[in-house]
């Protein structure tokens, strides 16, 4: 999504009511962030927003980018935020061969996940159940404990690396990926070294 370098736009301070609603929607999307929310968005802090091309909005706190959003869709975390709280975001893992493609902005394809180095959620995992949002996490060997549905935001880790390398929205559910084993999985991701990463807020 941000293959090109982004122009620096002026920042605008957000009203506290907007901040509050953002905080709520952030928690709704990422329930696992609940213990850290005061650290990410202190109640006193002044959150700012920055308009980016393609109707994207970036939210910045004290010139540290936190997350971005495309035109009313789900909030996606900036990779620097993911690096700070890696355990709070649902993740999948790609094999080593796929890293260089993802880092040059390619669409993530299923074989990068189904191969030996890739990690999809555990076998026989269930989809998200009502009221059990807090009971998910990484179980054995980098696999997430539940199936991730289509349209869910996901963090992409990499084989042999500690840090996440991309963030995006699933265009195919993880159960579908397991069944089919081909086709795109994450399109238009925000990856390490892209325009959003290089942006100096």
């Amino acid at each position: 999504m941000f293959k090109k370098d982004l122009p620096v736009a002026p920042k605008q301070k957000l009203k506290s009511s907007v901040q509050r609603s953002l905080r709520n929607s952030l928690l709704a999307t990422y329930p696992l962030l609940t213990p850290y929310i005061d650290e990410i968005m202190p109640k006193k802090g002044s959150l700012e927003s920055m308009k980016l091309p393609d109707r994207n909005t970036l939210y910045v706190l004290d010139s540290v980018p936190l997350f971005y959003q495309q035109d009313g869709s789900d909030l996606l975390p900036h990779l620097k935020l993911v690096h700070r709280f890696p355990q709070a975001f649902p993740s999948i893992r790609i094999d080593r061969g796929a890293i260089r493609f993802v880092l040059s902005g390619a669409t993530l394809m299923a074989p990068g996940l189904t191969s030996k180095g890739g990690r999809l959620p555990v076998e026989g995992a269930k989809p998200l159940e009502e009221g059990k949002e807090m009971e998910q996490g990484i179980v054995e060997d980098g696999r997430w404990s539940r199936e991730l549905a289509k349209g869910e935001p996901v963090v992409i880790m990499a084989e042999g690396k500690e840090e996440a390398c991309a963030v995006g929205i699933l265009v195919a559910g993880t159960d579908e990926v397991k069944a089919k084993g081909k086709g795109p999985v994450v399109e238009d991701a925000h990856f390490l070294g892209d325009g959003l990463w290089c942006l100096h807020a």
Binding site: Y36, R100, E159
Partner: protein, 191 residues
């Protein structure tokens, strides 16, 4: 990109503090994909020796290589080479651009004894014209503004004939601008 660590880190146990490479800004384990591997390695060795040991030690490299097929490895190596060449070319281009871009200081006659001084081309040196204009205004205690040129681009217009002092000021304040690249033009009003 001098900041190597996350600029803000409230001292709480939960937030992790990730070190980023000072050259390519990626986490050091991803440096190999950044196109400036050599420089990244040097930087890491100097600034984070422990991490350098972990990532670039022979064992680690071997482990990384073993998980890929030979064919894929070759392709990856080729790709990395291409990327490095690209990064180098971009750097060189930037350097030549810096060396060839000229700053023009123009004295424009407005009304017989009244002048304005226009400065064109400072943006090539990565300067923010608006801020520079403000500095000029402060230094010379005159009006100073950024105006659009009809040919596209922007210039800084300072009120009054300050061309000589302006050159000194630029050289002193913005070290990136080489002295030889500053050029004077005198624009007389036509009768």
């Amino acid at each position: 990109m001098a900041d190597t660590e996350q600029p803000e880190a409230p001292v709480e146990l939960q937030s992790r503090n990730v070190v980023y490479c000072g050259v390519c800004t990626l986490p050091p384990e991803y440096c190999e994909y950044g196109g400036t591997v050599k420089k990244c390695q040097e930087w890491l060795e100097k600034n984070q020796p422990a991490m350098y040991e972990r990532i670039w030690s022979p064992e680690a490299l071997e482990a990384a290589a073993s998980s890929l097929s030979i064919d894929a490895q070759k392709r990856a190596a080729k790709d990395a080479q291409k990327k490095a060449a690209k990064a180098e070319a971009a750097e060189q281009k930037q350097a030549t651009k810096l060396a060839t871009s000229v700053v023009t200081i123009k004295r424009i006659e407005r009304n017989k004894k009244k002048f304005v001084t226009a400065v064109i081309g400072l943006e090539a040196f990565g300067l923010d014209l608006k801020k520079v204009a403000k500095d000029f205004g402060k230094k010379f205690a005159t009006g100073s503004s950024v105006t659009k040129l009809p040919s596209g681009g922007e210039e800084i217009v300072v009120q009054g004939d300050v061309s000589d002092e302006l050159e000194e000021f630029i050289l002193e304040k913005y070290k990136d601008v080489p002295e030889d690249n500053i050029e004077f033009v005198d624009d007389k009003k036509k009768k």
